[in-house]
Symmetry: D4
């Protein structure tokens, strides 16, 4: 039942074609679709400026292209995550104006009018160089959502002076995303240096007792710094997304 | 080396009592304490209005009292977490102006001038009634940090209409803390309804395959809602703390 | 917004006190409570004959009594699970007509008119004698929900002839609940003998590598019999509940 | 000892060639094969209309074909699960009347006279699009077993209105199969909306802390909805099988 | 159907009161109970000399006494395991001729005529002194089953010469039971020294990463000695039982 | 120090070339090699008839051939395990008299004079057809060690009559090896039917919550049958080896 | 066979009472005890100055006293670990010259002449105040073994300046023991600051996903600093012991 | 701020161009880089003779070459770990003077003047032949760091005499690295024979319940020998590195 149908029903009551009791009965079983759609309508403005996100893993290039075509028609910003280079090539042939980030394995395409950038800075930090792809996914996500992103890579805790050299940049950031594999200690150290929220992303970088990222995940959940919250292993996109919401 | 010592050193160079080379040598080994303290000085204003937090678990009432005495002298707001009723009684005999929250198992004592409340609302939600103690710890933490907190308890996903009835309250909140044991599904549902950050707190409420909160923890880390970040099992304090930072 | 409020709104449109557009607007934001309540109303008849269930663990006798008082007023059947003997005594002093099952640790109180019993039989089977409390919880649950329940205890797989002796009883049952700790093999053997659904309940009976019921849980999930579905460790109530739904 | 041998033995007693004591002795050690076969005979009618199931994984096309040939001779319905496209092609060359479902990775061949369809509907629901292959395996299984199956895909909990829009379809179903990866929350929400049994199927869809489906499995076992039972990760076939038994 | 009923049936055929076909039909559905009981009869001689075993854990002294009374009537040897001292006292008041082993936490009562002892020796070895209770349970079990048992305690691998000093005793044993907590390495070393079967028993002795005996369990399952098989953590009884079967 | 050197030393004492004190000193530091070799000498007869075993996994065909060449020179029986077909072909070109078992993935070559076969039978049982390769490895191992092996495949617990049909064969065996994946229930059922030792072998056959064989492993360790001991997942060789020792 | 017996044997050869062949035979079967004891003799000087260690947990005060009495007779230094205050009181009544460390839960008694202290310093560091008992156990162990021990407590990574203030002390230490619970990140940071070996001790301090110390254990094993090795959870004694060996 | 800038600043104060207060202000915010670099300068001599280490895994040959070129310019010793043969060939074409160790999968290139070798011996021991690659990585690491390394391979505990034959070599070593997969028992046995530190390295050699090296890891952490510390699974490099620090 869309708005027109609802108007028609109320007009029938207005005109006396439908009794109040009949109207009550019909409205009590009001299909959720309509409310649902209404809910979406109300949500849209709230969500404005946010891209729809296509999880590329397990999708064929064709599928990605079809979804993108519908979004382009709707003038929506586009973010495709976890798409490998080969599929990306096929997608970019169809959408030459889109751009592929090889390290982040993302395709982005900005179609909305450029919103004024948010004032706060999102700082994305990694412990090692192997954590950079996950960090880049976070950075790309936050940028397409309209945020200023800076990066600080390879400042892991076994050489803590590398991090401390950048203390001022840490303290200027409004939200920090800290990406680390191995022992996952960096979010605790960063969290202790700043007074802003830290989104910690464990990565599957490591071997043996890393157990695919379990070691840094547990470390981050047990952080002695109180300003640290954690997302799934390798979930750069999620970190970029929630950091963007915080930064708004 | 505090500021006075540093001034003295530089004056010795100014007066020629110390050569430049000698000064360079002394400064190169500049004790970190001073920089450290300086760092703390810079941090203070940033952290202003935030209480020092005493983790009560494993501490004797005497220890808690001694720490509180030093903090009261410094006119700092006080939050004691995980303190059981018996110890709390002993503490309150010494500090009658402090108050004990039995469900949250916290002692609070506000000594700073009341900061203007933040405008955004932190909404603390629980799936069940057994999750309330953890939720109260989060609420108490955010309140002592100067934030407006509202609560919405017992709206778990097996009766999703209970949650949907409060959809407007969800959408008005600036940050949401969602506390859930058992299957830990509530943060995903809440996350899908709002466009603000959701801090998810798994609880050890449950039995059997709950494995002490592992089940809801994994569920929250795997949330299909992108605006969910997670803290440690039963860590209401951490959720309240980071939510407060986000809400500032 | 309850039915009266809805009637009032529609009458305002009928009378012309409210324009159709105003009505559409009000109904579009129709509070979910009402639909929620309506949903409950629609659900009630479907759920008729089913007791509200009070999870006794962690609740004081007083709390249980207060909830029971409200339910007795509503003439609802009552099932309290996981309530120990001491608390049960306090509850039974208040409700002498209720009865306590020591092995199942349940209180039941039937207030609805006795529904005609379902025709199918729910057969509750255990591997060992230590599994009986969980089995009894399942049996009590199914009985208060109006079902015929039979039991067959201590027929574990290390003496498979004990089970085979009762092959006919197995084949007559409409639904089977199989409760087992240790290696959790009984549901597979039972499942292979019958052509009806088997609800498997792992128990925490065992030691060492039982890991609190993990061993039988995994065994049941990996059952080579295709007619086996599993509930949480020690969850006799859940097994009795879903078996009752199947048996309807 | 087959029926002929048994007849011969009894005739020997009838004729007096064998004493009663000798007959008792022989029958006491009656080989189980015969009873076994008898048992199968008694089981057949009970199982009537159910296909024999061939687990295709790890079998060569040749092996599948040989088994199918024997079943075709016996005019049995055939279901092959977990068979990839390449092998399926080889099988279909031999049995052109069989059909391959690419998403479900199943081959089916109906040879029995069509039984009257069961009246109840089995509704198969997925949280995401990646869960569809497992859901299709469940659907194909239930259909070959003679049941009416409907599907409702991609209605995960992070957009709960998508599910609520179909509330009526949920409530009309007699049995529900809910397939979900990631946080595995959908069975709890569905279970809260309906008064019928829900068979939950965790899938290995996800990454990181999904741990190959462990996360949704634990969520489903800890469901706060009492009408949920669980099968193995990715076990669409098992879900379809037990749902069919429930629906009979 | 017991023997009398079977005789009656066969006599009816003998007398012509029952046709062969009718007899076949009746015998085909021969209740399993009878065969079951017959099976027990056939089993008894095989099992002769073996005690029935009462798992004392979780049983009240009264329950143990009642079971023992029935067994004493049947002149069966009795072994009660995992029974603490307090309960044991109550049991021994009723059966003064029984004896309690405090370290093994077992009660034994020999009622059968003493079978000739087996010739082979079962050697029970422990790594540390804390493993002795589990070892004693094994030793008591094997002794009540009629076997010669020797013990060799506190010869763990961190002082391998302690073990090597007893090399000859190791090589004389027919079966070896090796009980170890912590790193669980002893079965591998013993297994490498002897050419007989080694039954390894992990114990829950240890702390931290012992994880309740998981560490020695995994070590024993991964033993590089090919003559090692493993039983459950702390399962001294099982080790003694299977060692006795091997030694027969 | 070999025997000749020892003789020389003692002769020097005999001749007075060496004082007793000097001899004591030399012998106190007697190199272990010699004792070691002596120990090996003593062990040989005990181990007689047992093949040296080559673990083929991770070894090149060349390496296997070189080891075999040395063993052939020593007229030792040869067993190579876990060797794939391709490498086996290369090995058999060099040793045409050796034979490859494709299912067991073993090469065997008997060079010792045929020892009289042991009288007891080792019965190798599997739950499913996928468990057969592991079972064959056990069978090949026991046969090369000189034992009579029988096999009984595909008698899993979901069709327990298939197993019971072979009850007599079970009871005639002296040692039983039971190989099972999935829920790993078969050793418990077999163990309950026989009075001989059962060596249980969990296999990695299964998916999802099988967790690579963890599910059947835990089931077997928690077996309610007391005559079951367990070896590593997929360790058919170990089972065949220890069963052979038991059967001697 | 002790030295006297060996002399006697060699004298018999010298005197011709025993042939060389007979001597060879006797010596070839030389009991390991003797070599074992000899080995101990050789070991003693190496181990000199090291206390025998009594693991107090699970031992009665009486047992501890009896062992100590034998050691006092041998003038050996004594270290008792994991002994609670009550038992310690009983022990100290018997040995008033011994001393009890309440935080470390150790009893020490020095009886050997004081060895010259080692020159290097062992620095014991903790992340939090709750880790101090484990650290004290390490410190007490190293001191009774004759080493200079310094401590630096409560310098966890969430306030990294606290640690950096003591950089010089870190760099002066010869061996460092780093004790940490929660996220276990401190060893990595310390390891990055120094060029000496770091022994990391995870503690069970924490809750929820600490899983009894698993989180810091995994973090330490995955340390990105290459100079970190790890001991068991809460194993302060082991850390102190190996650090002492390194410091010699 | 490097030394020149610092001199310039102090000269400005000396000359009166800068007031003391201004100097204090500038130095208080002294960039960490400078202190960092200074720290590195101070560290260099301490670390002298130690190679920079390139973790080859996941790096392209080109990347490795570029890093090596910078190091060669700085006349630093080079160690590349985890580099497969193909990439190594490319690297060696560019640096013909470097050498590749196929078993260790390392490239080394010594450019520093040869430091006098350390006097103590590092002994690297393996349980099996499959553990050798990890052992070689440890040996190569210690050698490039300037230490005398000896190796003792394939002396696992199931043939403990193989190890005991080399008792003297064990006792002569200053540090021991013990590499073992499967049950990981070797470090305990070695630790019991020597009075020096043992660095234990679990390997992923094994199958089934080895769980990728978890089994030997747990065994080593639970070692009953007090002189054992553990590094990550397969971490030969880390073991070689820390052993070298101990041996200095």
């Amino acid at each position: 039942m869309d708005q027109k149908q609802l108007e028609k029903l109320l007009r029938s009551i207005q005109k006396g074609e439908l009794t109040v009791q009949e109207g009550v009965q019909k409205l009590k079983t009001l299909p959720f679709e309509d409310i649902g759609e209404a809910m979406i309508d109300h949500h849209r403005p709230l969500r404005k400026g946010f891209p729809e996100v296509i999880f590329g893993q397990g999708k064929e290039a064709d599928q990605v292209i079809r979804i993108m075509e519908r979004m382009v028609e709707a003038h929506e910003d586009i973010l495709v995550t976890r798409i490998d280079e080969e599929k990306a090539k096929a997608v970019l042939q169809r959408f030459p104006q889109a751009s592929y980030n090889q390290r982040a394995r993302t395709i982005t395409l900005r179609l909305s009018e450029a919103a004024g950038q948010s004032q706060g800075i999102i700082l994305v930090i990694t412990a090692g160089t192997s954590d950079i792809p996950v960090a880049e996914e976070a950075a790309v996500t936050a940028r397409i959502m309209g945020h200023s992103v800076e990066t600080l890579y390879d400042v892991g805790v076994s050489g803590v002076h590398r991090l401390l050299n950048h203390r001022e940049r840490l303290m200027e950031a409004n939200v920090l995303i800290v990406v680390a594999g191995m022992e996952g200690a960096l979010p605790s150290v960063v969290g202790g240096l700043v007074a802003r929220p830290v989104i910690a992303v464990p990565t599957s970088v490591g071997y043996g007792t890393s157990f695919g990222g379990l070691a840094p995940l547990l470390a981050m959940l047990n952080s002695c710094a109180s300003n640290v919250a954690v997302v799934n292993i390798d979930n750069g996109f999620g970190a970029g997304y929630i950091a963007s919401l915080i930064n708004r």
